[in-house]
Symmetry: C2
Subunit: 179 residues, 2 copies
DNA sequence: TGATAATAGTTATCATAGCAAGTGTTGTCA
DNA sequence: TGACAACACTTGCTATGATAACTATTATCA
């Protein structure tokens, strides 16, 4: 995967060619947001196609991984939601499905009976063991056109964009939840 | 909006802090795809909130803009779909809504009665005239943390990612449809 | 200790996305 | 010219996401 030669790239944009808009983008900012959304949509579907044959949506797979990542102590429902890619999503039904499929198990906590802790089951762990290498490969493929340094630059730029938008609009929990 | 000082940024990742995963990302590629999806999700919702008060989803707004962009000649239904951010989406019902709201009008073409041309109405144009500056502002805000040169770099990187993924997975029409 | 607020989830509602199958129209070609 | 393929949507179905309202439990504090 040779890194792209784009050192002298003309500022006439590829998204514009792809979308074939009659008039040019009204601003570079607009071009960037559209490129971002479009790219994410494409990558999202590519990844979704990897896990769907196993009966999971991408969101379910991510939730399952988050639950496994929490270890033997389990993780409360809302903590999962905070860590999901889509932050606002309704987590309960997603977990219902995972529980129906015996991939996780849930139980109310002892001192605080409001909380529900989630644990991955052996079945869940087994499924993840199967899926992880496939998803890893898909991740690599998705960004295969970027060199390692481009990748890091890419991550930095994305972080910067998130940081501006995290303040207003997508409030995240403040305190450092334990993990 | 001064561009961020990140010249010597440590490679310990912000997404990782945000998502507070117990174990680190398994690869830079994984970190990048998650950062991409998460960032897009945040920006998507920020933009959606701008147009929703006007009764439009972001997808509807985009479709409406595409139709307007086609000019007085109109644009066939499937050409709209090709240019949408979400490529696979079912466009018919989306257009139904726009037509119900009198923002567009549709008619079968004369020689080829399979096609349905879409035109923006005066109401639609008026609504866009109201929305455009708001969306423009939201676009600028979404990427406000990036300098102009960072923006262009960002767009380049996104283009590169799309190009790898466009081949397999998200087949786009080949020929240059007229516009 | 009893009212009120804050937490942690759950449920309801509605709109949209994704996929697949169906319909009507045109093109191709024996 | 008649069958079959290709095209341009359209419709049905299921699942997911966004919001908001609701329930149960715990914390606060006069």
């Amino acid at each position: 995967m040779a890194s792209l030669k784009r050192s002298k790239r003309r500022r006439s944009s590829t998204v514009q060619n792809e979308i074939r808009q009659t008039r040019p983008f009204r601003s570079t900012a607009q071009e960037a947001t559209i490129a971002l959304l479009r790219t994410a949509s494409i990558v999202n579907r590519a990844l979704a196609r990897v896990v769907e044959p196993f009966g999971l949506s991408l969101a379910q797979y991510n939730a399952l991984r988050i639950i496994r990542g929490a270890g033997t102590g389990g993780i409360p429902t809302l903590s999962i939601r905070e860590r999901m890619i889509e932050e606002g999503t309704t987590i309960t039904r997603l977990l219902d499905k995972l529980e129906e499929a015996s991939l996780i198990r849930r139980e109310r906590t002892v001192p605080d009976r409001r909380q529900v802790l989630c644990f991955v089951t052996d079945d869940g762990r087994k499924l993840l063991d199967t899926l992880d290498p496939l998803v890893d490969a898909a991740d690599e493929e998705a960004v295969a056109s970027l060199s390692q340094s481009e990748l890091e630059r890419f991550i930095d730029l994305l972080s910067a964009v998130r940081q501006t938008n995290a303040k207003r609009g997508a409030p995240r929990s403040a305190g450092p939840g334990r993990t």
